[in-house]
């Protein structure tokens, strides 16, 4: 029977610290690491079933009604099997956890780059050539593409106000009113979106590059008009996601439709330039932040207003204000969200939707306030830490920002910093340091997992994915810890919708949610073992495949003599989310050099101190933090999608023009984890770490730029032209 857990109350039992195998919380290597290093891990485009055909998607070159007049002659080209224009093809990738088909259709393009056809041929080369030969005509209409040029929607429930802002501003010792902008950005996972679809007449099996399989299965079934039971999705390895693979993408549906039509396996891989357009981008934002503070720098008023955009019929709006609801105390506060309906490619979740851009802009504003008040930036944050949720009035489940700020400052050597800017120069370079706080909401999602125990060998099973985050590693550790097994005795099977549905990977909830389901499955097994031995589960000590009770020892293998025990675990969110405010916290520190000849910014070093509950595996967690911090470098310095002013198309849709941080851009990074056990996070007491590292990282960098050279950059990214203009 499944062991269920609903998170309604804190878990103070702290069982995880009593277990004795000693693998949870340790720096273990990824069990999937070697297969990746020797090229044995296979990704969605890599199976080669017999009779495989190749599909290539075709994009709309404009916005409006679409037709393809030469489709018949393309059908006659060498090797071509099919020119598919099916109303079930999807307009853009589904949003995370959509659980149903996204907007469908190929007769109208709502944005430049929308997939409007699939060409299938015997070889990839033939399919690509024929796809390029297909002429797509668009009766261009003038759909709006500039978020500033339309009247924005003000969605209900996303406008909050408390207190009297005008009065607070009137009485304040310091006021600040600034506008910041961030650009459209993309996930740019290294593995392009890909699908290999096989249809046997009733059932579809799709190898996909997807993050949340239980939802993806329903999205795909709904798009195709078939029953979810007849869809199986496999994604044992996913080459990065960062939000762009939360929902099904265009090639999944197109490949499935072609496989059904032709009765042959089909592979469709998005070309890199299609990956930019057909999936979801991070919306550009314009953020106005108004602060009022007393003489000691305590905030008396806080206002954060954001403008974001999306296509018609997309419910997602970049939740820019998410962090501002709870980051700082201020009795008078207003948060306002505005959404422009425009025809740029669809917007959706990209690593830390909301806080990645919202906290980053807010933390630049806090730096400006620190300069204005003459208070040290670390001290200013310390003075404004709320003692309960500033809006809902409920307590925090655990709040370690103070520790992160203090410990981060100590490790970085913040005390040695001269407070005025423009104090250190080396040749043409100004050197400076800056900091920012990090905030990210934390959530648990419903998840299930199963563990099969045969003697002293266990197999963990769930449809959860590992998109690079370390799921394979931590589930192995959790199961091994509970069952008292050496790591190599525990295998982990992921990424198959035939397995119990996990949470999927997204929103930093994967490790804590599906990890807790694995924990419950392990606990279920411990209870079964205890029952068989007629003792209490809590009195059971399991270590190295041995059952220890008092001074008796027995090996698991001999006690159960080859019977397979099955443990099932299930976790779901409960009232905890109403009773407490739960979040993760951190502090970023950066040192930069700014050339006043070229405007170039070079990173010198970065430090991040992070509190995210129990760290299940510091090695994989640290890699996640590095990832977030380096994304912060990209956001601060180079990453921006340029949209054409006439039709909104992405001008720089490849890696030559959209600049990800490369090895040479990344300085030494130091990561420190703050000790924390959050009892409201369930028995593991772990929270998400995958996104915290990006929240505010870019602000620490631009605050350091200001400290270095006195230039205040309010438009991200701080490209050399902008730096030079701000330097004067």
């Amino acid at each position: 029977m499944t062991l269920d857990l609903k998170l309604d109350a804190p878990d103070e039992a702290n069982r995880a610290d009593d277990l004795v195998q000693g693998v949870l919380g340790h720096e273990n290597e990824r069990p999937d690491g070697l297969s990746k290093a020797i090229g044995a891990a296979t990704y969605a485009a890599e199976p080669r079933p017999d009779g495989l055909l190749h599909g290539f998607l075709v994009r709309a070159p404009g916005i409006g009604a679409v037709s393809c007049s030469n489709a018949n002659s393309v059908r006659e080209m060498e090797g071509v099997r099919l020119v598919l224009r099916d109303p079930r093809m999807i307009r853009n990738a589904a949003q995370g956890a959509a659980n149903e088909a996204p907007v469908q259709g190929v007769d109208r393009a709502e944005y430049v780059g929308q997939p409007v056809a699939l060409v299938v041929a015997d070889s990839f080369e033939q399919a690509r050539h024929a796809a390029q030969a297909l002429e797509v005509e668009v009766e261009t209409d003038d759909a709006p593409v500039d978020p500033e040029a339309v009247t924005a929607e003000k969605p209900d429930g996303r406008q909050t106000a408390q207190g009297d802002l005008d009065a607070a501003r009137r009485d304040a010792a310091h006021v600040l009113d600034r506008t910041y902008t961030t650009s459209s950005m993309v996930s740019a996972a290294m593995e392009p979106h890909a699908a290999t679809a096989e249809w046997d007449g009733t059932r579809l099996v799709l190898r996909g590059s997807l993050q949340m399989l239980k939802y993806n299965r329903n999205e795909l079934a709904d798009s195709l008009g078939i029953a979810p039971e007849n869809v199986r999705i496999l994604a044992p390895y996913v080459g990065g996601g960062f939000g762009s693979k939360l929902g099904i993408s265009a090639e999944c549906v197109a490949a499935a439709l072609a496989a059904i039509e032709l009765g042959r396996p089909i592979r469709v891989v998005q070309h890199r330039r299609q990956v930019f357009e057909m999936n979801t981008r991070r919306s550009e934002t314009r953020q106005r932040i108004r602060l009022a503070a007393d003489r000691q720098g305590r905030l008396t008023a806080l206002e954060h207003e954001a403008l974001v955009s999306n296509l018609p019929d997309e419910t997602f709006a970049e939740p820019v204000l998410q962090g501002s609801h709870f980051a700082y105390a201020a009795p008078n506060r207003a948060l306002r969200m505005h959404v422009a309906r425009i025809h740029r490619p669809a917007a959706g979740s990209v690593r830390a939707p909301g806080e990645a851009v919202g906290v980053t802009a807010f933390e630049v504003a806090m730096d400006e306030l620190a300069v204005a008040t003459g208070i040290d930036p670390v001290e200013l944050r310390l003075r404004n830490i709320p003692d309960k949720d500033p809006e809902a009035g409920i307590p925090f489940s655990s709040h370690r920002l103070k520790a992160a700020l203090s410990e981060g400052a100590r490790r970085f050597g913040w005390a040695d910093r001269p407070s005025p800017p423009r104090q250190r120069r080396e040749g043409e370079w100004w050197i400076g340091t800056g900091m920012a706080a990090a905030f990210r909401v934390n959530a648990i999602m419903e998840a299930q997992a199963r563990i099969l125990l045969t003697g002293d060998r266990a197999v963990v099973e769930t449809d959860m994915t590992d998109i690079g985050t370390g799921s394979y590693a931590i589930f192995q550790q959790i199961a091994a810890e509970l069952l008292g097994l050496p790591l190599e005795r525990v295998k982990v099977r992921l990424g198959d919708t035939e397995l119990p549905p996990g949470s999927g990977s997204g929103g930093s909830f994967g490790a804590a949610s599906t990890g807790t389901a694995v924990w419950m499955a392990g606990m279920d097994l411990r209870r079964q073992i205890a029952r068989a031995l007629a003792c209490d589960e809590a009195d059971l000590t399991l270590k190295d495949g041995t059952i220890i009770r008092g001074n008796t020892r027995r090996s698991l293998a001999e006690a159960f003599d080859g019977t397979v025990l099955t443990g099932d675990g299930h976790v779901q969110p409960g009232d905890a989310q109403q009773k407490v405010r739960q979040a993760t916290f951190g502090a970023h520190f950066a040192e930069v050099a700014v050339s006043d000849v070229t405007g170039e910014i070079r990173m010198r070093r970065m430090h991040g101190s992070f509190a995210a509950g129990r760290i299940l595996n510091p090695r994989t967690a640290r890699s996640q933090c590095h990832g977030g911090m380096i994304w912060g470098i990209g956001m601060a310095l180079t990453e921006a999608v340029t949209h054409d002013r006439r039709d909104g198309h992405m001008v720089n849709r490849d890696f030559a023009e959209y600049h990800l941080p490369v090895n040479a851009d990344v300085p030494p990074l130091d990561v420190h984890f703050i000790e924390e056990r959050d009892p409201w996070a369930g028995p593991l007491q772990a929270k998400g770490i995958g996104e915290l590292g990006i929240c505010g990282a870019g602000a620490a960098i631009l605050n350091a730029v200001h400290h270095a050279c006195g230039a205040r950059l309010r438009d991200f990214p701080a490209t050399p032209d902008r730096v030079l203009a701000a330097l004067v």
Binding site: E27, E29, R30, G33, L34, S35, K36, A37, I38, G39, A40, A41, T42, Y43, E46, R48, S123, F124, E125, Q126, S187, A189, M190, E191, P192, Y237, V238, G239, G240, G241, F242, V269, H271, R272, I467, G468, G470, P618, R619, T620, R622, S623, Q624, H626, G627, I630, D654, F655, A656, L660, V662, N663, A664, D665, V666, P668, D670, V671, H672, F673
Partner: protein, 174 residues
């Protein structure tokens, strides 16, 4: 077109459409999918393989240009068990999703040879003196291989361990 070349020491005779890239020949015709396709445009380095010992972007090269060549892929580097670099990438967590990893490892393998042969880079002080593989040199020489998971600290630590002459600048673990 008919073509033969050696892949990981084994002769391969293929009959290919002349448009097939070396990368697609390896992945789809030889059946070695270790080399990855991240962009098909020479912009990411995921497809890096060794041709006659030198690193190239296999997506930028047509298969038919490689008659008689010796190609080594990430699978070939593990022929006698994981290479030192492959083991070090696992040890230092020089990967997350793993998609850029084969390219990083092939690239690093050839890069260490280039350093040993004294090839200068953009950050070398001059063109003729002995190359020291400092962290700056390492980062510069590995910048043709993008990693969106951003595993550069682990990648550099792994390469640094194998090229023992690299001064350790790795972060402290805690």
């Amino acid at each position: 077109m008919k073509l033969s070349f050696a892949v990981n020491g084994r002769k391969q005779s293929l009959d290919l459409d002349p448009r097939v890239t070396l990368l697609d020949a390896l992945r789809d015709h030889v059946g070695l999918s270790g080399s990855k396709k991240g962009c098909d445009h020479g912009q990411c380095g995921a497809c890096t393989v060794l041709v006659n010992g030198r690193r190239i972007n296999a997506c930028l090269s047509l298969a038919v240009m490689h008659e008689g060549d010796e190609v080594t892929t990430v699978e070939g580097l593990a022929r006698d068990g994981p290479s030192a670099l492959q083991a070090a990438f696992v040890e230092h967590d020089g990967m997350q999703c793993g998609y850029c990893t084969p390219g990083q490892i092939c690239s690093a393998t050839a890069m260490l040879e280039e350093v040993a042969a004294g090839w200068p880079s953009h950050v070398s002080a001059d063109l003729t003196s002995k190359v020291e593989l400092t962290q700056d040199e390492l980062r510069e020489r590995m910048s043709g291989n993008l990693c969106r998971c951003s595993c550069y600290p682990g990648i550099n630590a792994a390469i640094g361990q194998v090229a023992t002459e690299v001064p350790a600048e790795e972060e402290t673990a805690d």
